[in-house]
Amino acid sequence: MSTSTDHGRPDPSAQGRDAAPVSDRGDTVCVIGAGASGLTAIKNLREHGFGVDCYERETGVGGAWNWRHDRSPVYASTHLLSSKPFTQFPDFPMPDSWPDYPHHSQLLSYFERYADHFDLRSHIWFGTEVVRVEPAEGDRWDVTTRSTGGYGPERTSRYAAVLIANGHNWSPKLPRYEGLEEFRGEIMHASSYKDPAQLRGKRVLVVGAGNTGCDIAVEAAQQASRCWHSSRRGYWYAPKYVFGRPADQVNDALLALRVPLRVRQWLYHWTLRLTVGDLTRFGLPKPDHRVYETHPIANSQLVYYVGHGAIGPVPDVARFHPYAVELTDGREIDPEVVIFATGYLPRFEFLGASVFADSAGAGRPTLWLNAFTPGHPTLAVAGLLQPDSGMFTLAHWQTVLFARVLQARRDRPERAAAFAQRVRERAGERYSGQVKESSRHWFEVGHADYLRAVQRALLDLEAK
């Protein structure tokens, strides 16, 4: 193992802000976060010959998937939404003995095995959070870190490049409702929902019909004394199995045959009609869009419990009263617990607003391939994606592309310059069909469109 994990001696010639000493880490790349995207970044950068320092605020790997972490959104029953072939890293398969849709605890052990197999832990500084990332001359970066929780002194190191993999499912997005402050019942965001015991015997309202909202509604159906499920619009609830196979595998069989979107939508609607049936008969609102136009919801059980009367579908919340919730159709219900499964917003609080050209400061940077920053060729984000399929394959190829771009900067500068030009021209490109405009779909990508775009970028970079 090289010396890439020792911090270099402070270089007196380099002076950071406030004239604090900056230790120069040479060609080393800084990776922020040791979750799924961070781990694959370390592995792929190492594989391409780069030294790596990874900073992880927690004491273990796995990021969001490590239930011990205080920012982890997983709940006891969390299972994968995409089946194994779509979920695993493309060069490190999950064991054959695992089920089609593994449990979150299996996923954590997968990341731990990945880290050990490729000897990644020796490159990770655990319990260290990144405070600031600032551009330095020559497209390099000054990264200031300190112990998680703000103890101890700050230290600043200068890196050749920075890869941000801090995740985007930890900062809860809470909608504003009139009267919410006066409501006397219990209110929680899905991020703090961990175990169905929290719902046992209570009257529960679940707000939000994303995958998490549907999962929690299904658990409330089994545990709570009463469960209402509020959604803004009607959705397509896709079963996890169709024709005896994981549904995403059936879908990709069609994609591989290059069946056009319209035909796939028609087949999908037809399949749902035959299997799940007409949802309006259950009192669920009719979807106001075609399938594939919103993030897919994979849940075989929701409709089942609606059909058993254990989940009462209700429209959006109009306002809160101290002991009741008023719905947009004028009805009033009286839940004791309200769970907002209303999603998360990305945050890059260590980065100056000018770097990402995110004028609104809303956490929606304008990037190419959801990863590359115009004007900053040595900065990339991994995993800022909401794919209609597994995410880790996509993050893997993002980080391979970043490693090859950094290699090109060294070996074929003209190629790297052409790439940087493309990043400026194409920032903000989308990789999905028409989707509903909402912060929920900011990072929505279709895995096939996205991977083909990354493949083109890889081949362009490598072309003779």
Binding site: K43, E47, K84, P85, F86, P90, D91, F92, P93, P95, D96, S97, D116, H117, F118, D119, D248, Q249, V250, D252, A253, L255, A256, T393, W397, H447, A448, L451, R452, V454, Q455, L458, L459
Partner: protein, 270 residues
């Protein structure tokens, strides 16, 4: 080699059906931080072919050593309809299950399986021993030397290799007969795949690759050795006087020592 392909819809839509696998191992008494070796036998052979000499020898030199049987071989689950892809899947599964990044060592058609596995697993290094990469040349050579054993395979029957193809005269007759008696057969679809000379996708993670064989191998012509080695940017390491089964022939210790020496010197394989 075919081009890099990262959208693999067809592959994801039809995952390989799992099969129970036999894995034999010999690990050194003291962990010395050396990379584990995974030996992949060729068609008809099982993990036993490496357990005979090479596993123990590698372990005695400090390398944790594992040998597997492809599905339908040795003590792995029977799989008459196995494909080359299923074999490569088996190799990647075993490799990813090892505690640390492994070096893949494939023999015969097992070298072709390893070449395909390298596109799905970033091995620390790879060794292709007497590689059978298929094509009509290999079939021609086999038909000339052993028409009765080869011809049925063309029609989906078993491929029967004989003593003269596999071993040198130095190996005692009794031992050679015992080994030939243990040979099984590969699936017919995998056998047919050899005729098409199936091109592997490029290896991921740019592992160093060593190609070795014998100029007196009656299965793999020298020209094939040179061609395969050139594909990986090197020249083959040769062991004159040995038969195709370098791990079972009389002088089995020379090639395995060469592999371990190479691993000790190869910087990327550490």
């Amino acid at each position: 080699m075919s081009e890099l392909r990262i959208m693999r819809g067809r592959e994801w839509a039809r995952p390989v059906r799992p099969a129970r696998r036999e894995v034999l191992s010999a690990v050194p008494e003291v962990e010395e931080g050396r990379p584990p070796l995974l030996f992949v036998p060729g068609f008809g052979h099982g993990a036993w072919a490496f357990a005979e000499h090479w596993l123990g020898h590698a372990a005695s030199r400090g390398f944790p050593a594992f040998a597997m049987s492809l599905r339908g071989h040795g003590a792995s689950e029977p799989a008459p309809e196995a494909t080359l892809r299923a074999y490569a899947h088996d190799v990647v599964q075993v490799a990813a299950g090892l505690p640390r990044q492994a070096v893949l060592v494939g023999h015969g058609a097992g070298a072709l399986v390893v070449a395909h596995a390298l596109a799905r697993y970033p091995a620390r290094g790879a060794v292709l021993v007497a590689p059978v990469f298929g094509g009509w040349g290999v079939l021609g050579a086999a038909l000339r030397r052993n028409p009765a054993g080869t011809l049925p395979a063309v029609f989906g029957g078993p491929l029967r290799l004989n003593r003269g193809q596999l071993f040198s005269r130095e190996l005692p007759d009794e031992e050679a007969r015992r080994y030939v008696g243990r040979l099984g057969r590969a699936g017919r679809r995998a056998q047919w795949a050899l005729l098409g000379e199936p091109a592997a996708e490029p290896a991921v993670g740019a592992p160093p690759v060593l190609v070795m064989g014998s100029p007196d191998d009656r299965v793999v012509p020298s020209s094939t050795l040179t061609r395969v080695a050139r594909r990986y940017g090197s020249a083959p390491l040769l062991f004159p006087g040995m038969g195709h089964d370098l791990m079972l022939d009389a002088r089995w210790v020379e090639p395995i020592d060469a592999i371990l020496d190479w691993l000790e010197k190869e910087p990327a394989a550490h």
